[in-house]
Symmetry: D2
Subunit: 353 residues, 4 copies
């Protein structure tokens, strides 16, 4: 209810502030008997962690997950998996300037008004550091769902877009460059763009596309817990996300029904896939694909006016180490949240069998 | 869990198929002591109901809500509000052609695969008829939230867009035309477009914009139940919705942080509102606004090939009475779902006070 | 959250006041493809309904269930089952005396204080009439669980106890007498006792024992949703219940571990069953048995002093038609709630398979 | 869903096995701005911890709670409170004898059957060690509820009962002796009894009474989430509990309505309190009191036959360090669970104000 749990059957509850001692979580409902590959989990952490390349924040965090329960002799036991990730590289003094002031387009103001008190260091709970816990749970979910492939990649940085449908891309190339775009040519342009933006002390938005393949038919619980509704919520819960569309999305609104309808093949598959793999809220076995919009990071290195708690105007300039563009590091987060939703619905759907 | 309940504190559970005896629901958690204006509720039903104009389906349904509990001497009592809406105008024989066949881009196939059995008449549970129950609950929520204004309107039909920001529109004019677009000029073009599409036996998509004003600061429960994440899920749960964006949305991804940041006034309001009234998942007191994308209705009056249960190709043509474009009737549904989310979070937020 | 839903996967949400137009509910999460025997459901209703014998309230209610959705051509479809039961025999004028006064040991006072307003007629929502909806859902649950046998019976009326363990009783005889005690001899004494109490214008308490057989091993979700914890909550949610014990219960507290431990047979069954079929919150395949304590009905036909809303002392005397002892009619309610819990956990446990 | 979370608004999710690295949990929904007294929390831990006296298990665990989030400069921030308790004194080799065998009346067998794998060391997740996390959360809940007094004490050990109603006891004396019985004379007899039982290598059951005072009127959410139903579930979820009764409980079933009814005073209080402070599932402002039945600990130091995984008979004898009677250490657990329920309902009830 208070908002820090996600999922019904496979349920993640997280805790932790950016500059507290540790962040962590509890995964409840993980099936038993899963032999976990801990390296694979740590590898997902590396894809998200700061300092991984020249185009992301230069903060250093080892981001090592420590599992405390629910795993015995390498296998999940069906009991809750508790884990923590220590906050190693807190430089709290970087944040003393925001103790009594509100950064524009950050959550400082709303947290203060809602709770009356906040841990201002590094954004506290509102920091995207929290998403590390999502990646842990998502990495486990991926291992449970081993036959289902979930691949996200950067589709655009600012107005620089990858104008190729996912069906014509080699998604295994996503990790071959720093920006996580599977087209090497466009990737280099994106990297260049981010470097320029960074040089200006500014930031830029972008979009991520995610493709989920080999999803069994039948996942999704209409009428409210439609599969795409739960995926959409999952994506919108990620820091900085402003929009979500699946299948034909916003551009589908310009189409006619006669163009948009996905005609069946005799085996129940469809000739086109404007529907994005979901009909009536239930997966139909086709690929699920969707786009997620990320706003530009609010912390810039440029000076700007803002207010303090008393409403006085103060000048502020970003300190610390921040991302000029959030999408390269958000790719594993999008995949993780997708995995959580798919696994939860996959478990739910077992009831019908 | 099985997907037919929405909300945590103010919770709607619905039931009913398109061509069964009745649809209905239970609203649990409605505060007591609310003097309900039943006419206002029925008026919201009229905005959604079929047969209201020349550009919507010509089915006739009185859509009269009958309340069975939870209201005593005109006031809510705090106990659950049960209600039913009879299905008056079922023409089940219109649907015998889909008993054993799957309409393209409909939920026939996925329901059959998931549940093994389906009430095929009129789409059964997957019919948008179900949204009538959402409008009932939303109409009650609006009355509880009396100081909060929720206004949706048609922003586009196909590629015909209303190129005016909501701040320059007179939203009281939305109901002055059949298509529910507050700009009379654009409205007439939209109506014309829908009529042409209908003449072709085809359908067209569109988008709806919704604006929520006077929302108190503090609604939203990070990190997963962010206010916009719950609004997004609510919208994506509506039939035919393919996308959701709030504030700057997808276009915000092309902006720089220095442009996108909403600078504070000394009273905590902001000079711009790219954030869409929500920061870190919590309302900041500014207007909340968002767009919802609807695909073209899948049932066209044109002939198309599809398959039956055995995988044989069969020719199909839409029968019955269908909407050529769903957005005019979807406006009150978008408002209703928005009201459900805002009220639920408003009640949740009382815990912090 | 607001308390009118029960269960996670197989979820019942109910509505309705004693003297409103109808009571009813929504059952969400019922598996599809179940051929429902509607007579069997109505038969359970008859076991609960008023006017069935000389020792229960003489109110007349046909208590006919009307299903509105979720069932198609005799089968469940996996979509929510909506149902209503009309309130046929309301004599609201019987209750004008409690409009402004609070009956002792009734919920009049607490409802008024909590909600500020109440439908006083017949106790409104706090009336045990609400349990009719539980019986509907329980009757469906029983049909889904067809191999699991759930049998409740009256164990005591006042201090008159059935001193025979359930293993030595023929539980098929429970329905052979009005009081629902499987020992004919004790049953007649109980009936006699209730008649005497009724003649005095008084009421009396009693206990019900319930036995659940053929439960598969593995139901229950430790550590909080232990099977017996959920059964206990289910029972305690029934009107007038004051206590719950399972297996050795309160008398087990007087035993030594060496006596109480259930020694295994080589097939995993146990030689004794002090545990009551549950170990560590998980069913072990042995019989689950438990006792439920019901207080004496608060409405007596004797005069008593009470207070009105202003705190003035007023004299009150029960009017209307009330049960002198609640246990005979509570037997099917206990079974219904047990069925809801077992089915919910049975569906949950499918995730582990 | 998977059973390791408790509460709706103030929600505790726990993890951890008896002999893993640590146990811990996440408390979500704690109101912000609470100045926490960490010593008071640690003090509650001491009341539960092993090794505290001669009549409890001699295991040594410091049971120090380490808070990782949600508290900033001594105050709760409204964000989730993560905490861990290290398992310091694991002697896993004590448990090698149960690796392949099932202890009678323990959860070894049911965990193995449900999950297919188990951490057998010290009972793993089924160990009462898990309740330490409940005490942490309960201690915080008590501080939030500062005006509400929750006092539990040992009412009986075996057949040795404290025959004094709570209203005639000085509950401040509960902590003055090792067994936690507020009557010093009876306490000494209980201690003596437990020592004798221990000398026999046996164990004994007992009951705990709990009294909650100063509860505001209005807590509880009928019809299913009645206040006593949630308290009952909370108690039944504690290891070894076999029964729960509140107010007049099982003995109330022997009373007549004319004796049992609690007559009002003019201020709405009642002259008697057979109802146990709850009417219709809602607190009425009177004291809430209830009894909880604990079975004898299953691990005895006597030899007994049991089976291994293959069904072979093996002889087993308790090793390690175990409680001869669980009730002295269960007193703070009962209080903690009571505090969780009351706080959760207290927060929920704010919605009505």
């Amino acid at each position: 209810m208070a908002g820090n749990s996600f999922g019904n059957i496979f349920k993640l509850s997280t805790f932790g502030e950016s500059h507290g001692e540790a962040i962590g979580g509890v995964i409840d409902g993980c099936p038993s008997g899963i032999h976990l590959d801990l390296n694979a989990i740590q590898n997902e952490m590396k894809r998200r962690k700061p300092g991984q390349s020249a185009i992301v924040t230069q903060r250093k965090e080892p981001d090592e997950v420590k599992f405390l329960s629910g795993i015995f002799e390498g296998q999940t036991t069906g009991t809750p998996i508790g884990f923590i990730i220590e906050n190693a590289n807190q430089k709290s003094k970087d944040y003393s300037h925001i103790k009594d002031s509100y950064r524009p387009s950050h959550a400082d103001y709303t947290y203060d008004k809602k709770y009356g008190v906040r841990d201002y260091r590094g954004g506290g709970r509102s920091s995207a550091r929290e998403t590390a816990c999502r990646v842990v749970a998502g990495a486990i979910a991926k291992q449970v769902l081993k036959d289902i492939k979930i691949n996200a990649y950067v589709f655009s940085v600012g107005d620089l877009e990858l104008n190729t449908p996912y069906t014509e891309l080699d998604l295994t190339k996503t990790e071959s460059n720093e920006v996580r775009c599977p087209d090497e040519n466009v990737a280099q342009q994106m990297i260049q763009k981010i470097k320029e933006i960074k040089k200006q002390g500014d930031t830029i938005g972008g979009t991520i596309t995610c493709v989920i393949q080999n999803v069994p038919i039948g996942l999704g619980e209409p009428v409210f817990d439609k599969l795409h509704a739960d995926i959409g919520k999952a994506m919108l819960s990620i820091n900085a996300v402003k929009g979500f569309e699946y299948g034909s999305g916003f551009s589908g609104t310009k189409m006619k029904g006669s163009e948009h309808n996905d005609v069946f093949n005799s085996d129940g598959t469809t000739k086109t896939n404007f529907s994005g793999g979901i009909q009536g809220g239930i997966s139909n076995g086709e690929d699920i694909y969707f786009n997620v919009a990320f706003k530009p990071v609010a912390t810039t290195m440029q000076k700007q006016d803002t207010i303090d708690k008393e409403g006085n105007t103060v000048e502020m300039q970003g300190k610390g180490r921040h991302d000029p563009c959030v999408v390269p590091r958000a790719v594993p987060i999008v995949e993780a949240m997708a995995a959580l939703v798919i696994l939860d619905h996959w478990l739910l759907n077992k009831m019908y069998q």
